[in-house]
């Protein structure tokens, strides 16, 4: 990003500024992707007290399925649908037969769901191999567009920002402004009470879990178009999503939104300015935050 020697300072500054803006958009587009994954993780924790470390694997599997469907049919929309629905089905079985028997023991949940993630990861390796794959971007989202100020930016990433923002708004409205959202919030506070009023809490939680699973699969397809799909990608994305929920506070939708933005921006700027220590840039603020607020920005006391 340094201007060539002899050039004026103004040119350097202009170049630096466009770098700042470019990385900001990079960060926000990553934030949009992270939100899709982190929102599911944080909601299933907040509502059902379940820590599901297989979300990264759900992302990867959804992405790979979307990749194959897109290749076969050429339809990005179908890819998203198939990717999302597969994970809904898989997530249902994992929830019902593996996670439910162990109750609220977080340690056991972590171990078990990591085991599930390992199995999914190996199945993906066996089917799709070890090469870096990318989901094909639909033609109408290819290429770049010019932003005010003369910056040229990939259309796809901008579309991702739109997707992430609209999902956030939709989820927020659902959670805070609808009857079903109110029931879910009540169920978080007092599951027995809600059950006693005749509402089937189990069915409700299954619905929320299905939504979270769909978002994970969707994220895989959508993310797989600009980040690569490869063995190990499930852990890379999961760690980022975990930092989002740690910073934002487990169980909080607002926290997932804010956390995604913070993590997305830190990741983008970190990679740009301090590539060797980008993990420090990412996790450092998280660690500092924890020293002062052990449950994250919007988290509730345990």
């Amino acid at each position: 990003m340094l201007a060539p020697p002899g050039a004026s300072f103004a040119l350097f500054l202009r170049s630096f500024m466009s770098g700042v803006i470019l990385q900001a958009i990079n960060g926000i587009s990553l934030a949009a992707l992270l939100f899709l994954l982190a929102s599911g993780f944080t909601l299933t924790f907040g509502l059902m007290r379940v820590v599901n470390m297989a979300y990264g694997a759900y992302y990867l599997l959804g992405g790979y399925i979307g990749y194959s469907v897109a290749r076969r049919t050429g339809s990005f929309e179908l890819a998203i649908l198939c990717g999302g629905l597969t994970i809904v089905v898989l997530g249902f079985f994992v929830d019902r037969f593996l996670i439910r028997p162990i109750g609220h023991n977080h340690l056991a949940q972590v171990l078990l769901t990591v085991g599930v993630a390992f199995v999914i990861g190996e199945v993906c390796l066996a089917i799709w191999g070890g090469d870096n794959l990318r989901v094909a971007i639909p033609p109408w989202l290819r290429g770049g567009m010019e932003l005010p100020g003369g910056l040229f930016y990939p259309k796809y990433r901008l579309a991702l920002i739109v997707l992430g923002t609209s999902t956030a708004i939709l989820l927020w409205l659902l959670y805070h402004k609808t009857h079903i959202g109110a029931v879910v919030r009540a169920g978080v506070d007092d599951r027995e009470m809600v059950n006693a009023t005749g509402i089937n809490v189990d069915r409700l939680f299954a619905l929320v879990s299905a939504l979270a699973s769909f978002l994970a699969g969707l994220a895989g397809v959508v993310g797989g178009a600009f980040l690569t799909l490869n063995p190990g990608a499930e852990w890379d994305i999961l760690v980022l999503a975990l930092v989002v929920v740690i910073v934002g506070g487990l169980g909080s939708l607002e926290g997932a939104i804010l956390g995604s933005i913070i993590v997305g921006l830190l990741d983008a700027y970190g990679r740009w300015l301090l590539p060797e220590f980008s993990y420090f840039v990412l996790f450092g603020p998280m660690a500092v935050l924890l020293l002062f607020r052990a449950t994250g920005i919007f988290g509730k006391e345990q």
Partner: protein
């Protein structure tokens, strides 16, 4: 009581005689089992006794290993200084990461996971210092004064002695009042507070002690493997350490080593004919959690209680 002591002495005798009975393959495998058993033991001090599930122990393990390796290989520092330096480096890191004890439960798990990733990220990306993906190679066998380890068999004995000494010290630690305070915290933190305990400081000290043990395991590892790379700092290593403790039986001394033996023998055996060993590991996780959460030692304890006609 004496029956157990006799059993342990017999086991030790067998362990000492082993290299003359089996081939080099088993000697190196057993050395590996002991080293990772020690790492599992370090994680279990927190898990089995204080109730904290840490996912960053590979970080201390790796930092100790890298420090010793870099000192020996690039700066020609002798074992007598490089080994303690490695242990010190890993322990200093644990002083920093110990701040995680300000959190509990799932937050503690996630934060230690993230801490582990920081170190892995540094090992991987700060290539100019750590060698990146290639790591540090050609670490010599340890040599102190005139004594030089000449081969895997001699190193097996070095590790055996180290592990036995640490296990004995560990036993003293967990049977001491301090060890009891950890189990009290695990049992009921609120009760401990109302009895006047500053729970945070006890957990902090426990965390650092466990980091110390993990660092020792790291130094033992680097002289065993003679090579270190970022994989040693990775999440699966931390996770496997905890799994070994659980499979073998948390809260015991033998458990982590038993677990290490089972996992490593399984890996060696399975990867011989099945390419997707990690899936098998995943299934071991799932099965253990669902059917044997107290591990092997737990099954043994239940069997003995059943035999004696005691309540469950």
């Amino acid at each position: 009581m004496t029956a157990r002591v006799l059993l342990l002495v017999a086991a030790l005798a067998i362990a000492a005689a082993l290299p003359s009975l089996v081939g080099e393959f088993w000697v190196t495998l057993l050395t590996q089992i002991m080293i990772f058993g020690l790492l599992a033991l370090s994680a279990d001090l927190l898990l089995g006794h204080a109730g904290l599930f840490s996912l960053c122990h590979a970080a201390f393990f790796a930092v100790a290993a890298y420090t010793t390796a870099i000192l020996q290989v690039r700066h020609g520092v002798s074992t007598a200084l490089a080994a303690p330096a490695g242990i010190l480096a890993g322990t200093i890191l644990s002083f920093v990461f110990a701040f995680a004890v300000r959190t509990r439960g799932v937050y503690f798990i996630l934060i230690t996971l993230a801490f582990g990733y920081i170190i892995w990220g540094v090992a991987y990306r700060w290539a100019s210092f750590t060698g990146g993906d290639n790591g540090v190679t050609n670490v010599p066998f340890p040599a102190i004064g005139g004594l030089r380890v000449a081969g895997p068999t001699q190193y097996y004995y070095v590790v055996l002695v180290a592990v036995v000494l640490i296990a004995l010290a560990y036993r003293v630690l967990i049977t001491s009042p301090f060890g009891l305070t950890l189990r009290g915290i695990k049992s009921s933190e609120s009760r401990m507070r109302s009895l006047g305990y500053d729970v945070g400081s006890h957990l902090y000290v426990a965390f650092v002690l466990s980091g110390l043990i993990a660092s020792i395991a790291g130094v033992l590892y680097v002289y065993y493997n003679r090579f270190i790379n970022p994989v040693a700092a990775s999440f699966p290593v931390s996770l496997e350490a905890v799994l070994m403790a659980i499979v073998g039986g948390t809260g015991t001394i033998l458990g982590p080593f038993l677990g290490s033996g089972i996992i490593l023998v399984l890996r060696n055996w399975v990867s011989g004919f099945f390419h997707y060993y990690t899936a098998v590991l995943g299934i071991v996780f799932i099965v253990t959690v669902l059917f044997a959460p107290q591990g092997i030692m737990g099954l043994v304890a239940r069997w003995r209680a059943g035999n004696r006609g005691e309540g469950a």
